[in-house]
């Protein structure tokens, strides 16, 4: 396994800038996730690392050695794609053995048998080994694809949304297994996804990408608790963070154009550094319905999800969502008071969206 560094990688496709000065390093044995919306440049970054795409400037190094001149085959990376690409006429066993039988490696059949057996056990596909891959379900095929990538020990695993073609329950099961596998084997992995739950649950560190640029790198807790911008704040967390127009006058925080106001000192310390107008970010779980709450509003919608209930509150001109555990007894039309959790508020610049 290897440590991977990208430095100032820029890539243009004709006039479109796909990547702009992308730099990060993945530590040996780390599970590193790139998160971003469609078109952010995630797949391009993977392809540059694999050598399938040549960057216009910047460099890719593995363990300090530059990879820029090496063709993909010599970089020793394993790629898992969103679409499973298996040989349909081969058995699962032969598919798994295929990378080991390559003329470069010339692994002995006895050793192949041992290794394939181990991998099949870990991925719980031992019973499928004699089957042809064309006969497998989607989840089974993706397990075999992952197995084929990890059967040899490459320097890094590059995974491009490997779970996004699976249905919800299967995706969750495979996500847990993949995370467990990576943590117990300590393999360096770069995992690309647009799904914030996958990123938060699997990553040791996350790089958030938007329009070809890295906007934040940090642990899942950093990204969730201290988002660098409104973009990042909205990207992680479901239901989405509430972003409210707010202003502050003489130490009093007002939710814009409403009578809702509270002394800043009561909810978040002195607020001395806040500009007169800003965006207040509050995660739905940090809005707490309390009879003596400093803010008030009317319940306009209830969404019971079972594990929790989403309560949509209209406060002045703005609406915000609050999550209540279990099935809430609140009804639409109720007038409610609420507080926001001190120390868990986010303040953003209204023009640029950056964290204050």
């Amino acid at each position: 396994m290897s440590q991977v560094t990208l430095e100032g990688v820029t890539k243009h496709f004709r006039i479109v800038t796909a990547l702009h000065e992308v730099s990060f390093d993945i530590k040996d044995g780390e599970f590193f996730v790139m998160l971003g919306p469609t078109g952010a440049g995630k797949t391009t970054t993977l392809r540059v690392i694999a050598g399938l795409e040549k960057q216009d400037s910047g460099s890719v190094t593995f363990d300090g050695a530059t990879m820029d001149k090496l063709p993909p085959a010599d970089r020793d990376v394993a790629f898992v794609f969103q679409q499973y690409s298996l040989y349909p006429n081969m058995t699962v066993y032969d598919n798994l053995a295929f990378p080991l039988r390559s003329p470069i490696r010339r692994t002995k059949e006895a050793e192949i048998k041992l290794r394939v057996g181990e991998i099949a056990e870990v991925l719980r596909i031992t019973h499928l080994l004699p089957r042809k891959t064309a006969k497998l379900s989607g989840g089974e095929m993706q397990r075999v694809s992952i197995g084929r990538a990890i059967v040899r020990s490459p320097r890094i695993y590059l995974m491009d949304e490997p779970l996004s073609n699976l249905d919800a329950k299967l995706r969750e099961a495979l996500r847990v297994e993949l995370a467990h596998l990576q943590k117990t084997q300590g393999s360096t992995t770069l995992f690309v996804t647009h799904d914030q739950i996958e990123a938060l649950t699997m990553a040791e560190r996350i790089a958030v990408l938007n329009m070809g640029q890295i906007v934040q790198i940090g642990s899942p807790t950093d990204i969730y608790d201290r988002p660098a911008s409104t973009f990042v704040a909205q990207l992680v967390g479901s239901p989405k963070i509430n972003l409210l127009d707010a202003n502050c006058e003489d130490g009093t925080l007002c939710l814009a154009r409403g009578e809702n106001r509270a002394r800043l000192a009561d909810i978040c310390g002195d607020g001395g550094t806040l500009p007169p107008k800003f965006i207040l970010g509050v995660r739905p779980e940090d809005v707490r319905l309390q009879s003596d709450g400093v803010f008030g509003g009317e319940v306009i919608l209830i969404e019971p999800l079972g594990v929790e209930t989403l309560v949509h509150i209209k406060a002045g001109e703005q609406t915000l969502v609050c999550t209540v555990p279990g099935i809430s007894s609140t009804r639409r039309g109720d007038t409610v008071r609420f507080n926001v959790t001190r120390d868990r508020l986010h303040f953003f610049d209204p023009a640029r969206g950056t964290r204050l």
Partner: protein
């Protein structure tokens, strides 16, 4: 406004049932979600209500009137599809006005009605644009506006959010529900997404394999699923289900833990299962990590979900269950852990029939429990 009534409605293709006989009454102004995996018969049911698909048995009543053999156009129904089906050469305004134009409405009536829906859906700035210039969410808003403008007695919606990105979906979901609250039109909404069904439905009809598995409120299908299919399908994650032999008031779980069943359940379990195999079902948030908990396992993996963590606990070998826990504690992989279950929230199923069992007394209903 209208009630919709299905009496023994069924659909067969040759010898195969697409929908087995269904009885269902949808009340005036109610929002009912038809939920199930693909191929379960939910869309066929919707199409039979609309008249786009003929029934092979049973009767359909709209507001008490038998419409079983009326054409789709003769039923006072609006259909909203997954794909937006807008006329590309028309502007947004022309698209919305089209149903009224074709009914020969007067221009001033048309203008007034278009104005109403346009404000409700906040699409006024787009009236002059052509559909190809709109985002997916906006296209679906226009499609909704076009069906609303007719003021139909009921709405049938077939996965209207299915083609949208996750981020739009959450917002549009709330918007459609608010629209429903404002208009109060009877709505049948087909989806394969249990979150949508839970969030929007007054009641949910859960279907699988052409059979209605359960009809109930979100709280009922979540806390009191009728069978193992519903238990697993509703919720993310689904209900945690563990099988083990039951005898003398306790279930032996994989890995050897002995779980004593709550006293209220014992008579009925002794009666229906005796000594024999039993499935325990519980929600991840109703389990509580506790040193003296009766169930033991090892941490297989932990997931951060923003405000909480989910522990995947390995009871033994292949048996993983999920337990929701607070964020303020570190759980390492392989760490031994014990947990207990909330007595009023645990459920039991018969593995042979796959049906939910009930205790002697009435069950606890879903209160405010959770992390």
């Amino acid at each position: 406004m209208a009630t919709i009534e299905l009496k023994q409605v069924e659909k067969k293709f040759g010898e195969n049932y697409a929908v087995r006989p269904v009885d269902l009454t949808i009340n005036d102004g109610e929002f009912v979600a038809l939920l199930g995996p693909s191929g379960c018969g939910k869309t066929t049911t919707l199409r039979m209500i609309s008249g786009l698909e003929a029934v092979t048995g049973g009767r359909i009543y709209l507001d008490g009137k038998d419409v079983t053999w009326l054409k789709a156009s003769e039923r006072d129904i609006a259909f909203v599809f997954q794909f937006f089906a807008l006329y590309p050469q028309m502007t947004v305004r022309q698209n919305i006005a089209f149903p009224l134009e074709s009914q020969g409405e007067k221009q001033d009536v048309i203008s007034k009605r278009v104005d109403e829906v346009v404000d409700m859906l906040r699409i006024r700035p787009m009236l002059k644009l052509k559909p190809h210039m709109l985002s997916g969410g906006d296209k679906q808003r226009v499609a909704l506006a076009r069906s609303l403008v007719r003021r139909p007695a009921c709405f049938l919606m077939d996965e209207p959010l299915g083609a949208l990105d996750a981020e739009f979906r959450e917002a549009m979901r709330a918007e459609i529900k608010r629209l429903h609250i404002a208009q109060h039109a009877t709505t049948v909404y087909v989806t394969h997404d249990q979150v949508e069904a839970m969030a929007m439905g007054d009641r949910i009809v859960v279907m699988s394999n052409a059979i209605v598995q359960q009809i109930g409120t979100p709280a009922e299908v979540y806390h009191d699923p009728a069978n193992l299919f519903v238990a697993n399908f509703i919720g993310s994650p689904g209900m945690q289900l563990v099988k083990g032999p039951y005898a003398d008031g306790a279930v032996q779980l994989p890995g050897g833990s002995l779980y004593p069943v709550p006293a209220a359940w014992r008579p009925s379990l002794d009666d229906s299962i005796g000594p024999g195999e039993l499935v325990i079902g519980f929600r991840a948030e109703t389990a509580e990590v506790a040193e003296d908990g009766p169930i033991a396992g090892k941490v297989f993996n932990t997931d951060l979900h923003g405000s909480y963590v989910v522990l995947h606990v390995d009871l033994a070998g292949d048996q993983l269950v999920q337990v929701r826990a607070r964020r303020d504690h570190e759980y390492g992989i392989g760490m031994p852990i014990r947990f207990g279950l909330n007595e009023t929230m645990v459920r039991f199923f018969d593995p042979k029939t796959e049906l939910a069992l009930s205790p002697a007394e009435s069950r606890g209903v879903g209160g405010e429990v959770g992390a």
